[in-house]
C-alpha cells in the first residue's frame, strides 16, 4: 500500500487524540515569562531548566559546522563576529539574548546564531 513506498502517504489517521502511541514523544512543560522583569532576567527559569539540552543542541550545530569547515574557523567566526552584531539587534531581544548566554554559559555568538538561524538558514 502507499504507506510503504515514499512518500509513505498514509490513510488519514483517526483517533490519534488524546496523543498516544509511537508518534507521541511526550507533553510539553509550561513556564512563565515575566515581562515586568528586566529583559536579561526573563529567561532565567527556563534556561536553568533546559541548560544541558541547549548546550547539547548547540554542540550538535558546532559539530555540523566543523564537518563543513574542519579547521574550526566557522565557529571562530561565529564566536568573534556575532557578539559584535548583538548590539545592533533591537531591544528587548538584545538583552534577552545576553541573559540567555549568561545563564546557560553558551558563548554569546552561538546564542545569537540560534536566534537568527531562520535568516541564516535561507542560505
Amino acid at each position: 500500500s502507499a504507506q510503504f513506498v515514499p512518500p509513505y502517504t498514509e490513510d488519514c489517521r483517526t483517533d490519534m487524540y488524546p496523543p498516544n502511541g509511537p508518534t507521541f514523544k511526550g507533553p510539553v512543560k509550561w513556564y512563565t515569562i515575566d515581562l515586568d522583569l528586566p529583559p536579561s532576567k526573563r529567561w532565567t527559569a527556563v534556561i536553568s531548566d533546559k541548560k544541558n539540552d541547549l548546550v547539547d543542541m548547540i554542540q550538535a550545530i558546532r559539530d555540523l559546522a566543523d564537518a563543513f569547515v574542519p579547521s574550526g574557523r566557522l565557529i571562530e567566526l561565529v564566536d568573534i563576529a556575532l557578539p559584535l552584531m548583538v548590539d545592533t539587534l533591537p531591544n528587548p531581544f538584545r538583552e534577552e539574548i545576553k541573559g540567555i548566554a549568561a545563564v546557560s554559559g553558551v558563548p554569546l555568538g552561538e546564542v545569537v546564531l540560534f536566534n537568527i538561524f531562520y535568516e541564516v538558514f535561507t542560505v
Binding site: 504507506q3 515514499p6 512518500p7 509513505y8 502517504t9 498514509e10 490513510d11 488519514c12 489517521r13 483517526t14 483517533d15 490519534m16 487524540y17 496523543p19 509511537p22 508518534t23 507521541f24 514523544k25 511526550g26 507533553p27 510539553v28 512543560k29 509550561w30 513556564y31 512563565t32 515569562i33 515581562l35 515586568d36 529567561w43 527556563v46 534556561i47 533546559k50 539540552d53 541547549l54 547539547d56 543542541m57 550538535a60 550545530i61 559539530d63 555540523l64 552584531m85 545592533t88 539587534l89 528587548p92 531581544f93 534577552e96 539574548i97 540567555i100 546557560s104 553558551v106 546564542v111 540560534f114 536566534n115 537568527i116 531562520y118 535568516e119 541564516v120 538558514f121 535561507t122 542560505v123
Partner: protein
C-alpha cells in the same frame, strides 16, 4: 512545516501546526533521524508571557530562542509562521544589516512584537503584511470572528498575497506548508495534498481539536523533521503542544 486555520460550522476558529525543522543538518543513519531535529525536541517549551501578572500571550518555543514561531493572544488571535524559500532570501537581508541598512525586522522578532503588542486580528494582519523583513516567510493568522483566517505570503519587502477563509466559496480552512499556494508544491515534498485530502475527508461538520490533530498525525504531514504539534483555540484561549516522533517507514521531510 504545516499550518492550518479552520472554521467549524459554529464559526469557531481552530489553529494547528507541525513545526518541522532540521533539514540537511546531519542525518543519523543508525536512528534514521535528523540530528538537529532530535536535539530540538527536548528544548520545546510552552511559555506564558505575563505583565502585571496577567497573561499577554502564550507560545510554544525552543528554549533559548526569544522570537516566536507559534503563539496565541488569548481570545484575540493565533499566529504561526512557516519557512518560505526565495532567492531573495535572508542572507541578503543579513548582508544589508551588516552594511548598516537596518530598516527591516528579523522574522521572529516581528512575530514576537505582534503577539506582544497587537490587540486585534486586523492590527496583527497589517503589521505582518506591511513590515519590511530580512527574510521571506508565510504568516498564518487566525482571528476570533468568523472568516478571520488567512495566509500572508511575504517577500522581504512586500506582502505578495493574502489568502482568506471564505466559507461561501467552500473554503472553510486555509492550509500552508512551505510553497506559494497558487503554485504546485515541489513534487518530492507534497505535504499539501495529503493534508487537504484528510481535511476534506474530515469535513467542516467534524473539524475539531481532535480531528485536526489526526490530520497533523498523518504521514507525510507528520515526518522525520516534525518536532512538535501545537493546537490552539482562540475562543477558549488555549494552546496545547505535543512532542512528536515519526515511526518508520517515514519520509525524511
Amino acid at each position: 512545516c504545516t499550518s492550518v486555520v479552520a472554521q467549524d460550522e459554529k464559526g469557531k476558529l481552530l489553529h494547528g501546526r507541525n513545526l518541522d525543522f532540521g533539514l540537511f543538518l546531519g542525518w543519523d543513519v543508525k536512528n534514521k533521524s535528523w540530528a538537529i531535529s532530535e536535539k530540538l525536541k527536548p528544548l520545546v517549551v510552552n511559555l506564558n508571557f505575563k505583565r502585571n501578572n496577567q497573561t499577554v500571550f502564550k507560545s510554544t518555543n525552543f528554549a533559548g530562542y526569544v522570537g516566536m514561531l507559534t503563539g496565541i493572544k488569548p481570545h484575540i488571535f493565533t499566529l504561526t509562521m512557516n519557512e518560505r524559500f526565495s532567492l531573495d532570501g535572508g542572507y541578503i537581508g543579513i548582508l544589508e544589516w551588516i552594511l548598516g541598512q537596518r530598516d527591516g525586522m528579523w522574522m521572529s522578532f516581528l512575530t514576537r512584537s505582534v503577539l506582544e503588542n497587537a490587540n486585534s486580528y486586523d492590527e496583527a494582519k497589517s503589521l505582518l503584511a506591511q513590515t519590511k523583513m530580512l527574510a521571506p516567510a508565510y504568516f498564518i493568522l487566525g482571528g476570533n470572528q468568523t472568516g478571520q483566517g488567512c495566509i500572508i505570503t511575504r517577500s522581504r519587502e512586500l506582502s505578495i498575497d493574502v489568502l482568506e477563509i471564505d466559507v461561501k466559496l467552500g473554503r472553510w480552512y486555509v492550509l500552508e506548508t512551505n510553497y506559494d499556494h497558487w503554485k504546485e508544491p515541489f513534487f518530492l515534498d507534497d505535504r499539501r495534498t495529503p493534508a487537504m485530502k484528510c481535511l476534506n475527508q474530515t469535513t467542516q461538520a467534524n473539524i475539531s481539536v481532535k480531528t485536526l490533530y489526526d490530520v497533523l498525525s498523518t504521514k507525510p504531514v507528520l515526518n522525520k523533521l516534525t518536532t512538535y504539534t501545537t493546537l490552539m483555540q482562540v475562543s477558549e484561549g488555549t494552546l496545547e503542544s505535543y512532542i512528536r516522533d515519526c515511526p518508520n517507514p517515514c519520509m525524511p521531510w
